[in-house]
């Protein structure tokens, strides 16, 4: 049986009187991406900081790669990679210098920084000062920095936040590649589409609590409503839409009735989104 790379039990953390994380528990297995989905202030980053050792958990704990959570453990830090939401790079150093410096902190004598930069599409800008990089370029460099020690566990905090669709797609591809090569990845995001596309499982976090945790598919099946959206032409020539829930008594009959109507234009299945499920579970929007 595969052991989880990350195993968290009843983890709690408070900022003064505000309890930011309330006894959350989850596991992430090697090769798996767990999407931590929640609005700003839900407790995603606090959880991540507690796991990577920047915050000391108040209660609960767990293990990462067999090392206890919440301890100052350099041995564990050699095996994890972190991509922060804020672009904390050395702006006056080049991309290559940034990577080489971080590699030196891991004791890597001959880092293959150039190959990493080429992988994220920055090979031709390796010698340029980061201060001259665009937001997307800096984010790609942040990702490559998190990969420098070939980590077994990756913590990615909003890795595509505020990026253009093309750069975001590049970064998502890189994250998928790392997971495919066996890394366990905790991905915090409030981007529902990103969580849906990338994550093997999704944890909904709201006000410091995990309110649902499963694969996106299972969450949709469990919480989503089966429905079809029908478009019809009315007697006055106007086009109108009708949403028909299939799990009600009247639904199938109404659908059959409209399907035979000469006014029928189109029928679309109405699939539940993670966002709609989140709203259904928490009463809050993800972007809020």
């Amino acid at each position: 049986m595969t052991m989880p790379a990350i195993s968290v039990k009843n983890l709690s953390y408070s900022y003064g009187k505000l309890q930011a994380v309330k006894k959350i528990s989850f596991e992430i297995f090697p090769g798996e991406i767990l999407g931590f989905l929640g609005p700003n202030g839900a407790g995603k980053t606090t959880t991540l900081k507690a796991l990577i050792g920047l915050l000391k958990p108040e209660g609960g704990g767990g293990q990462i790669l067999g090392h206890a959570i919440g301890r100052d453990d350099p041995a564990l830090r050699t095996r994890i990679g972190v991509c922060f939401e804020e672009k904390n790079l050395y702006l006056e150093m080049s991309a290559l210098e940034n990577l080489n410096f971080h590699a030196a902190l891991y004791g890597i004598r001959k880092p293959d920084s150039m190959a990493l930069l080429q992988r994220v599409g920055l090979g031709d800008r390796a010698g340029d000062r980061v201060a001259n990089f665009s937001k997307g370029m800096r984010q790609r460099l942040m990702i490559s920095r998190a990969f420098i020690n070939q980590p077994a566990v990756l913590f990615l905090d909003e890795p595509t936040g505020g990026l253009d669709p093309v750069t975001a797609a590049v970064i998502r591809r890189l994250i998928r590649e790392e997971a495919d090569s066996g890394a366990a990845i905790l991905l915090t995001t409030h981007n529902m589409m990103e969580a849906d596309q990338l994550s093997d499982r999704v944890a909904f976090i709201n006000e410091g609590e995990i309110v649902a945790l499963d694969s996106a598919e299972n969450l949709k099946l469990k919480y989503g409503r089966r429905a079809v959206r029908v478009r019809l032409r009315g007697g006055d020539g106007e086009i109108r839409e009708e949403l028909i829930p299939l799990d009600t008594k009247e639904g199938p009959g109404r659908l059959a009735e409209l399907a035979s109507s000469p006014d029928l234009l189109t029928i679309h299945t109405e699939e539940a989104t993670l966002e709609s499920i989140f709203i259904q579970l928490t009463g809050r929007r993800l972007a809020g």
Binding site: D72, P74, V82, M93, F101, G107, A183
Partner: protein, 415 residues
């Protein structure tokens, strides 16, 4: 997945220092200020006068011989013999250690000299030359300028009046920059020499004076401005270094790059050690360089001076880290830097002025350091004389570094 090898603390600290050196070298503002400081302060030192003018040069008009000549008839009537008058003509009223007299032909010339429109020069043969500066006359070569700020004009009947017990009026011209105390001293000088000219004793019996100098008597061998500047120059260089180091620390905090380091095998202790070592080494090298430029090292004092610079560098690095940890932006940092560094400069400025430093100045952490620099470079103090100040500087350095490490550690952890 490859597990990276365990890494030694020395390599982590070394990697951070190498990175800091790279960033330091790329901070063009501080690099420029450092180079400019080293160069300009080095030059400033060598253009400063290395002699102390201890005597006041006093212009007198008319010349003494003329005063005696004008009063000759009256003095004869009062019973002065010709020998006595000739003795008066040859009298030297200057005081070798404090006052030197320069005799000028007319009151008008004396006024011009004090006002600065005319300049007086003395040649190697002792002749006086007058340069009309206002008329654009050239400076005479091979002669040195006499800086005259005070002058006395005696009336022609001065001797006869004083000898006859009459009231006489003497004009004292003074440049506006002459302090009140000096003017009062000159008035006393005029009174005393008036009686001497008239061949009379002073109307009061002056008590016998015995001056007791505590410590070495520096009369005639006082520290020149150049020598007094040494600690100040070293302090200015350390000040620029303090700003540069503070900027390096605050940038690391403000851009949160230190947070990225905390998720690597680096411990906060590595980070703090790297900052202290890097800052101390940079300050030490620059302090060393400026003291080399100003010729402070001798074969006897180099080890002691090395120790002093090292302790001073540690002290200023501690201050730099406090400033760096306190600032939340460039303006904050500037304000904190001024708040911390201006008090540290006070003892170095105090050294430029005569007198003993006030007790509150002695409480400033940099006071023993300034004393050490002056003592070792000027008074040629050795280890035994320097030990108390060395101990005090070491204590301040440890205290400031300890405080800065605690503040910085707290700040890093709170990010």
């Amino acid at each position: 997945m490859r597990i990276p090898p365990a890494i030694s603390s020395a390599r982590i600290v070394g990697a951070i220092m190498k990175k800091d050196l790279r960033l330091y070298a790329r901070n063009r503002v501080y690099l420029f200020l450092t180079l400019l400081g080293l160069l300009s302060l080095g030059v400033l030192f060598w253009v400063m006068p290395d002699e102390v003018e201890e005597a006041i040069i006093l212009a007198v008009s008319p010349p003494v011989k003329e005063i005696v000549e004008q009063g000759r008839a009256g003095l004869h009537e009062l019973g002065f013999s010709e020998e006595k008058l000739m003795e008066l003509e040859r009298a030297d009223f200057s005081n070798e250690e404090s006052i030197e007299l320069v005799e000028l032909e007319s009151e008008a010339l004396l006024r011009e000299v004090i006002a600065g429109t005319h300049e007086l020069y003395r040649t190697g043969d002792g002749d006086l030359l007058v340069r009309n500066r206002a008329a654009g006359e050239k400076r005479p070569g091979d002669a040195h300028r006499l800086q005259i700020e005070l002058g006395i004009v005696f009336p022609g009947t001065f001797i006869a009046d004083v000898a006859g017990g009459k009231q006489s009026s003497v004009k004292v011209y003074a440049d506006s920059a002459v302090p009140e105390e000096i003017r009062a001293a000159i008035e006393g000088f005029v009174r005393e020499n008036g009686y001497q000219l008239a061949g009379r004793e002073l109307p009061v019996e002056l008590p016998e004076e015995e001056a007791i100098i505590l410590g070495p008597d520096r009369a005639g061998t006082q520290d020149s401005l150049r020598e007094k500047l040494r600690p100040l120059l070293a302090f200015f260089i350390l000040l620029i270094e303090t700003f540069a180091m503070a900027s390096l620390v605050s940038t690391e905090l403000l851009q949160r790059t230190v947070t990225a380091l905390q998720v690597t095998p680096m411990k906060i202790g590595h980070f703090l050690a790297a900052k202290i070592i890097f800052g101390t080494v940079m300050a030490f090298l620059q302090g060393l360089l400026i003291l080399l430029l100003v010729g402070a090292f001798t074969p006897h004092n180099w080890l002691l001076l090395f120790t002093i610079i090292l302790l001073g560098s540690l002290l200023f690095t501690g201050v730099a880290m406090l400033i760096g940890a306190a600032g939340k932006g460039f303006l904050d940092q500037l304000i904190y830097a001024l708040l911390f560094t201006i008090p540290l400069l006070i003892p170095a400025f105090a050294m430029l002025f005569p007198g003993t430093a006030s007790s509150w100045i002695r409480m400033i952490p940099s006071f023993p350091l300034v004393g050490l620099l002056m003592g070792v470079t000027v008074d040629l103090a050795g280890w035994s004389e320097s030990l108390p100040a060395l101990a005090a500087t070491a204590l301040w350095s440890v205290l400031l570094c300890g405080a800065s490490l605690a503040v910085l550690k707290r700040k890093v952890k709170s990010l």
